[in-house]
Assembly symmetry: C3
């Protein structure tokens, strides 16, 4: 099977660097917490290549369209893969995706959250295939997300011992 | 101990079929993801017997009353049990409920989310008893849920090896 | 290493008693669910010493300031530690914090949820140190929380076998 890194390259996708926080904001926790064969992935947001918080910002259904939000969710997956890779060394160590919790910064009249979070799920399934990539999921509307980002996604995955 | 299916029948409760999505909506993930002895249950909503999204729709505290929402949460449990059963074959394989995350589509002035999500917890405890059915839980107010459903609930359970 | 209880005493911090629910509210689930070496911690809120829901109540960014909310999150950690201790007997049995899910009851224009939830993370890291205390985390804005509390936090931790 081709390696995940090769698949990303074939798709022309780039993994962003670690998040660059605004001055004065300190986040003391781990972006990825590994324990045994379980990997807990903090809520990630879309980042530019240099790790800065990506645009567009705003609420989905108002400042951000559904199609844009799908692309944001896809970029959230790339940011999460970056954090996982920096922690476990090689994305091919992932043996199963388990849980994806998709949070959409929602305008009052929008509720197509599953379609938005498909941006994340579709990329994971494309990269890892149906056996490893499959996952339980929720996709719901939040009242607000950090930095006003439109999509934040938390996950849990399994790695080989 | 009576089987879970027998208890459901004695209570006159029916497990709905798999969700029937509206035309044009594709959900690529698993409703239930099993790995080892852990079962990750995607966010479920209330369904009619044929799997269609159940009414009432709307925000709890506005279009949907607290009592109605309790009944919705109870039906969410039935939908989740259906997905679990289709994946693991027999609900009696469940050895422990672990985590329930209850999300209520909330009107601005409503906050009795725990009372609503009790509709789910009460049924699980009635069916599985206090040892297997007990679970950690959160019950909180969301800004929106898919299809405008009033309650969505995610869970994690343990099965025998 | 000093025991967690000794560190709490040195910091002058008190663990509150079990939550005292308002009359007529029954919560049938476990505040902490232990299974094997995994501890699932229900969503906790800030409590007074006698277990009553603590003030301030309200939305962060409106009735409750960011600084106040940081302190609330710190008190949420103390309430969670109380529930964990009552279940496992000794907080020194915790071998790893895994996942923290921080929920902030948000005013429309507030989004500095990570700064608020740092009140919880900072205390956990101070008490348990960087190896045991580190955790994956999300910090997001909810439309509402039970009792109108400003912060609710769910967690998962590991204990020795």
């Amino acid at each position: 099977m081709p390696k995940i890194r090769d698949k990303l390259a074939a798709l022309g996708l780039e993994i962003p660097g670690p998040i660059q926080l605004p001055p004065g904001m300190v986040l003391p926790f781990a972006w990825v917490r590994v324990r045994g064969n379980r990997v807990y992935v903090s809520g990630h947001i879309a980042l530019d290549a240099d790790g800065r918080v990506a645009e567009p910002l705003g609420k989905v259904g108002a400042e951000v369209s559904e199609d844009e939000a799908y692309q944001v969710a896809r970029r959230v997956a790339l940011a999460a893969l970056g954090s996982i890779e920096r922690e476990i060394g090689d994305l091919d160590r992932i043996s199963a995706w388990l849980r994806v919790f998709g949070m959409v910064n929602t305008a009052p009249d929008f509720n197509r959250y599953p379609v938005v979070v498909n941006g994340y799920s579709d990329l994971i399934l494309e990269l890892f295939g149906p056996d490893i990539g499959n996952h339980a999921r929720s996709a719901v509307g939040l009242a607000g997300l950090p930095f006003g980002t439109p999509v934040e996604i938390e996950a849990e995955v399994e790695i080989d011992g």
